[in-house]
Amino acid sequence: MPPPSKDRNEILLAARGLKKHFAVKGGLLQRAIATVHAVDGVDLVIRRGETVALVGESGCGKTTLGRLLLRLIEPTEGDVLFNVPEDVFERMRANGPAATQDDGQTKELIRQYSITRRRRRSMKALRRFMQPVFQDPFTSLDPRMLVKDIVAEPLLVSGLATRPEAYEQGARLLEEVGLRPEHLYRFPHEFSGGQRQRIAIARALAPEPEFLLLDEPTSALDVSVQAQILNLLKDIQRKQNLTYLLITHNLSVVRHMADRVAVMYLGRILERKRTAELFSNPLHPYTKALLSAVPVPDPKRRRERIILPGDVPSPIAPPAGCRFHTRCNAVLPHCGWSPRDIAATAAHMFDPSRNPDASELPPLEEVTIRGDEVLLLRYREPATESNRLGVEALVKARAERPEGIAFRAIQYVRLDGGRILLEFLPAKEPELLEIVPHHFVACYLYPGVTSATN
């Protein structure tokens, strides 16, 4: 395997079909009872010297993805590739985006560049090239260590320097991040939030990394200090030609820092494009909502606001089809409506004792969900063809009302052994397609463009 530091290849980090599922344990025997789909099939490329931002609400899996990229946790599926030459990467990608149908040759290439398939011990040599900076500088620094030890530790651990050298290096690093050498002999609690974040940055810079994972580096800081830290990060990047992955929920930070943006929602990337284009021409409804949520520091501007209803759905059972369809304001019938979206309403609608419009139906006994596509209605007496027509008429009437969008996804109403089946359009997740060059969106609003490589 080529040592990554020798040839500085074009593509620094790439995720291929990366997945991370956590088991939820419960019951007496602590057996896995459910799975959290924290990261669910992510492809991402980070080129040398650029800043990629990962944006999304809390709980969307952005931090988990960051940890996977550094191999701080092991992926369930997929690979993280490190330091890949462009032509090799193209060859890998020629087979399609998913990592499943790879041929022997691609597999060989992946094995060569993947850091997730390496042994833990050989991983250690790579660690110094990728360093994290965490969100909360109040918890990410050891309160019992002097600043000089905090900054020198990565150097000592990776065996890059002797102790005196490491301290000397530490003093230099502190100056680089805007602190003074006398700060070396203090404890973290003697510093303000902004200064602590500077120490965390100095620590990350110590082993001369090529890649920094910035996990919400400024969200615990004051607005005025945030600007200082962002300037510092930009400055260091320019000087040392670093590559950043910036994880944040704040789009205004993204605008200032990033070259490219990936918008994440429930473990999937919904939109990926260059920063300037994201702000001038957001395509995915979720991106639009995120953008409109950022407060504008101008009291005279009263903007149309898209307020997303509710919270992010649980990643234990992400919605079928497009994961965003339950909160989307531009939703279409084929976005992935499934029986669970309408089960409660159906129990009402098709019950003659509650809905006067359904009076000619027999009393409703039970409503059951079968899979992602079928809703079963069982009546007290076996349903007849005329009952089926009645249900169909109710569905049609409902589908014409604006709030009845989910009913437009009902494809057939069938009679099956005395029960009535409501069959839905098959739920398919929209693929991340290139709509405009370098602009990928996963949304059914923008169809018809076949997957092209950039």
Binding site: V223, F279, P295, V296, P297, P299, R354, R398
Partner: protein, 600 residues
Amino acid sequence: MEPILVVRGLKTEFLTSRGLLRAVDDVDLQIRKGEVLGLVGESGSGKTVTALSIMYLLQQPPGRIAGGEIWFRGLNLLAGSDEDIRVVPRTVGPPKFLPADDLLKQHRARMNRVRGHGMSMIFQEPMSSLNPVLRVGYQVAEVLMFQRRQEICDRLLSRRDLTDADLGLFRQAVASGEASERERLVAEFCVRSGLRPEKIHALIDASGLPIDERIARVRRLAVRRRRGGGWWLRFLKRLDAMEEIHFTREWERLSRLSLGQPAVDLFDPKKNPRAKGLPPLATVSPQPDALRLYFHAAVGSGGDRRKGDLLVPSEDLRARVEAHLRDSASGVFGAIFGIVKSVGITEDAIELRYREPATDLFRTETELWSRRLLYRIATSIPVLRSVLARPIEEEARRHVVELFRLVRIPEPTKIYDEYPHELSGGMQQRVMIAMALAGEPALMIADEPTTALDVTTQAQILWLLKDLRTRIDSAILYITHDLAVIAELSDRVAVMYAGKIVEAAPVADLFANPLHPYTQGLLQSIVSTESQGLEPGAPLPTIPGVVPDLLAPPSGCRFHPRCKFAFDRCRVEEPKLLAHGPNRRVACHLYPEEGASAAA
């Protein structure tokens, strides 16, 4: 509009191992009814301590309110918190001397009544402010049971049998297909019938029941509804009403006794330039029923009658004092001196006579004490206590479900029974807002309520606060370090730096033309999604340096070490907060005094 909260010269100190730290230094604030005041500054500038001082929630010691006054709806919040006041005059008989302990106890009890109903606070971190072992709904219900028990008793006492109109609502709810519509109908039905919403929901959701059977079951539920216990509810209602009046009366008396300082600030021509038409003030004497003003005989006022050094008041002087009082009625002093009924003359002083104190509901204090005793006895028996409290708790529960709906919590009946850790950050913050709203406060203090939340959730919460403000008309003091949030929500802004207010202005003026260099720096360092004419990749403008150590604040203007306009005077002389234009005040030597001085 008249201010509901007036803070004058507030000073809050902390005694630390390294010395005395003055976290809030001479802060003046006023909030009018229904207004949103934004309080901005970096961390460590004293915003939260100001809020905690207003709510009197400081940890004491080491904290201490070292000076100043806080007037809330015309009453002095700090009256009695200070050990110096030892005399409690009574309307009948000689003044009563109280040891300081008793006064403090009274003050504490009074603050307990003001918090919640008068003003409430939304804290920054909902997860650490909610009790992890209690259901969230109960935590909100507790506020209601404490603050608004009278209303709950009223609602319970006014129960009646189910009417056809009530049952019609139920029928509608059964027939309605829309979940939100159903929620609304069920809520209304439950308010009218006094039944528990979750039972009604269960009845509606049961499939396959004919409508007549459903109605029969509702009737049965209504019959089973707890009746009786009316004597206890009436007893509680009267006790609460008596307590309320008792406290307000005592509080009014104490407030009247602490009117001395404001009176000097208002009527002394040396302190208030608007009082120039008045002769020099000699002394003021607050009495339980009036405030006496004694004036010096001015040098040039030969025509006036003198008595020793003092002026014998004439009808003309009385009229001038009255006119001066009327002129200042719209501002801070209007809120403080709103209790003055008339201005009269005694032989050597002008007398500001107060309104009658709160009316007596009860002849003697014996009745109050006997009721308190009975209440103590009844609630000290556990079984009896739970039996007596149950209907009140159930009624509070219904009310909480309505509150949850107001703050747009989906499925409020379900959320009621959940624990804080089961809710997302946004939901927790909504519960906190519901709790703050429970007492229907005149003033809500929101201390960085969205700082720990996502932008999308922040947008929801801001929208909710804006919406609530139009619906319940309560004033909001919004504390944040993010000026962008202020731009979205506030009417006026006060910028705080190192324990002092450095600029106060209406929000549009502040953003269009920030005066103080610190405000300018704050505004420039906002990272925005808009381009601001900044090249992508160009460094953001920042304020160099950090907030000073308040144990040893810089001399002169506290901002001068970080200020790019600082000149010699800034290092020596501390700028005062002076009026600049009609609505603005700024504390900076860059802006000359304009002939105007400290605004009233």
